[in-house]
Symmetry: C2
């Protein structure tokens, strides 16, 4: 097994990356908040397959959590994560602490206007500003050729693509499919906080999406009908509380009245205290 | 005379820079809004002296002008600028148009909170957000080892340094002294718009700073006294209208009650319709 290198300091990992680049190696990057699951690992494996040197960051980013959100309670297990990554064959792990990423007097933020206010943005104000800021920082530190993100955070992937285009960053983004449990629940580090009952109730998200898929296959095109059906499924689950369900344009996240060629169906649902998200891309064949 | 290369497209200049880097050359960068004067040229010459490949951008950046400001009227003469730069021996010139830098659907902005609201920021809301955004973009495009800025825009230099530190950018900043006319007027592209009378009146800025320097030499330490003296000099010039004069901390731009070790004395004055700025760094010897 090759030796994985771990860095906590920005200066040190920058030096390592420069060394790898000088050897002509391409850099793949998987930014994570740790507590890794198979969703993360699908990104890691794709990076290992596609690039010469795979860097994974483990950092629970405080700036993307609102004051009422679960920053303190977000699950963490750095040792377990490092073990997993070493077994996968990852080359470099970056585990900065908060003070390394946001030192005293930190003042700089990046935002993608409009897109950041839609879907999850409206119930999590400031969330995407925090995401853009930390990802831009990590991109400057790791200098990757390709960065890997999951389709589960559909809005995040879209916003980061826009940030990269707008700021002329020299990095490509690969967005990989949602990884699910056998019963369909989308993997999330937060799933660990669901108790047995909530775990069952959490299936209402995928049930809603599956039902929508069926309706569309049978010819339904009106967003209001699709949304209503998903809402009914969520509402019939006593432990679930709807945050939003929307049918939106894949590029600008604007609501669509009806699906013409393609659409993103996205939803967020509280199950107990845990907020879960899921989504489905619909592409109609001519 | 070596042949200067000119690019208007981001993709093309990125390829050129990559080629230069592959040859092991260091990249120096001087971002400008064009209509070059000796102030700009002092930056260009320092870059030529210190780095292997000097890149100069000429771009009047719309996002750093307020709606009531002089974006349309800002002086431009690309042909003259290119001539000057070629004679200096510059390697690469970048002259993008607005649509290249801010294409349809552009949404991403960078800001350095707090610092952007002080001094010039309070009379030019949004100005430094525009500056940070365009400079970050240019840094991603040009990928310089060192970028050169003038001390005349003291707040800009400070904010950009903070942005670079906060976002972990791999670029050094060199800030070079203010270049002045023989009578002391700080060089500015906007000086061209001063008529003969205004040109004379514009000397009140340097007169104020010189007077402050004398007072401090004689032992004055109280900011209120220094500010009052400068204000009197500005106010005694009928064509001049004070925007601000402040004595501030060199790091965070907070107002100082008195000068203990070092300070920035900064002022902005309207002469006719033209807004001029000037400043002086004070460092007390023990």
């Amino acid at each position: 097994m090759k030796k994985m290198k771990t860095f906590a300091k920005i200066g040190e990992i920058k030096t390592e990356i420069k060394r790898q680049r000088a050897e002509g190696k391409s850099i793949g990057f998987v930014p994570t908040m740790g507590f890794l699951h198979e969703g993360h690992l699908s990104l890691v494996r794709e990076s290992l397959r596609k690039t010469d040197c795979t860097v994974v960051s483990l950092f629970v980013n405080p700036t993307q959590f609102g004051p009422q959100e679960d920053f303190e309670d977000y699950p963490r297990d750095l040792e377990r994560d490092a073990d997993i990554l070493e077994k996968e064959g990852v080359d470099v792990v970056f585990v900065p602490d908060q003070n390394e990423m946001y030192p005293q007097g930190y003042k700089t933020y990046v935002e993608v206007q409009d897109l950041q206010d839609k879907l999850c943005g409206s119930s999590r104000p400031g969330h995407f500003k925090g995401v853009c800021t930390v990802v831009l920082k990590l991109f400057q530190i790791v200098d990757p050729d390709t960065a890997f993100f999951g389709q589960k955070d559909a809005q995040q992937a879209l916003i980061l693509k826009r940030m990269i285009r707008d700021l002329n960053l020299s990095v490509d983004i690969d967005v990989l499919p949602i990884v699910r449990e056998v019963d369909g629940l989308a993997l999330s580090s937060r799933n660990v906080y669901l108790n047995a009952e909530e775990r069952k109730a959490a299936l209402c998200l995928i049930k809603g999406l599956k039902q929508a898929e069926q309706m569309i296959k049978k010819g339904e095109r009106k967003s209001s009908q699709i949304i209503q059906t998903i809402q009914q499924i969520i509402n019939s689950e006593p432990m679930a509380r709807m945050d939003y369900v929307e049918v939106v344009d894949l590029d600008n996240l604007d609501p669509l009245d009806k699906i013409e060629r393609e659409a993103l169906i996205a939803l967020a649902v509280y199950v107990g205290k845990i907020r879960l998200i899921d989504n489905m891309i619909v592409i109609l064949e001519e």
